[in-house]
Symmetry: C2
Subunit: 202 residues, 2 copies
């Protein structure tokens, strides 16, 4: 990897970290892009070259997670029940988190705290989830050999999977460790599997 891309990635993370800390200190709304840019000594214009919007910052880990999920989907046998596959994908995201740098984990936990403090941001994250859902539904339909426009079940499967994941992320405790989030998510997945009729997603 060239020195250029290395530097770019470093700036990207610097912006992200500075922004998260500012958000946690003084709130999301009252932190301006100008401040964030100032903290890492770049021009506001450059900020928007790294993140398409201020909101985009909060969705950093979302993008990361989606990538891992899509990867997992591709690697799973196509005759596995779709919901099971999706739950594996969710677990893959968590495992990646467990194995990640302490810096990455730190970012994730801080973002979680940020979301708790600002319910408006949850909406934002969910909105991005709707986008992800569309892509996932298409993949699942392909696996099932159906047309996503006709096959309602593929949408339902994905919708329930994403819903399960979302419920799992909402931890009651404000300062939770990555391990705690993982444990909580496992509980939720188990609960979901107990709630659904065996073979419903075939």
């Amino acid at each position: 990897m060239g020195l250029r891309e290395l530097k770019k990635e470093r700036t990207r993370l610097a912006i992200l970290d500075a922004a998260i800390d500012l958000f946690l200190e003084q709130g999301y709304e009252s932190t301006t892009v100008e401040q964030i840019a100032g903290a890492v000594e770049i021009s506001p214009r450059t900020f928007f070259r790294y993140f398409t919007s201020k909101d985009h910052l909060v969705l950093w880990f979302h993008d990361h997670g989606e990538e891992i999920m899509l990867e997992t989907l591709r690697s799973r046998p196509s005759d596995e029940p779709p919901f099971t596959t999706l739950m594996h994908a969710v677990r893959a995201v968590l495992n990646d988190m467990r194995d990640s740098t302490s810096a990455d984990a730190q970012r994730f936990l801080k973002l979680r705290r940020l979301l708790e403090d600002h319910p408006h941001l949850i909406g934002l994250s969910v909105a991005r989830g709707a986008d992800t859902e569309r892509r996932l539904a298409e993949l699942i339909a392909a696996r099932r050999g159906t047309d996503p426009d006709e096959d309602q079940l593929c949408h339902l499967i994905v919708a329930y999977a994403v819903a399960t994941m979302r419920v799992g992320f909402e931890c009651p405790r404000r300062d939770s460790t990555v391990e705690e989030v993982i444990a909580r998510m496992s509980e939720t997945i188990a609960l979901a599997e107990r709630s659904l009729r065996p073979g419903w997603d075939l």
Copy 2:
């Protein structure tokens, strides 16, 4: 009702209708608040006194629907399985739509078309759904006599209910009638009930 409130409601609907038509004509992003305000001959400032944001316009029917759902929840026997109750609430929204003025139905259908044309707006609507979900989860927890912070199942129930509703709203056909949307939704509800284990929500 005083003349004041009457006039207010009329302006509110005038703004909404003008906006929707402009959106459909020239796209959501490229329609400015100034244009909308101009179309109904009010100042842009006044626009923001009727709708807190441009986005809020699109969520008009969402607010309407949420109100009906909450009402239905209150009127249902508290020993009914929660998911069943929620599905009744969804049906209540549809029934209200069927009985509504042609103007209201028209608005609803136009908004649906708008959402299809602008995927970004779907995210917005879903984001508002996250808000609704929180309120619903609290109600369901109260019915179940549990603490919403501890009881994961109440969140899962609501999340699945909302997910079901969302899947039902996505019709493949661009120009659908209210009846078609209702039929589609009924199918989806039936599918959901077939997918969930009996008694899962007790």
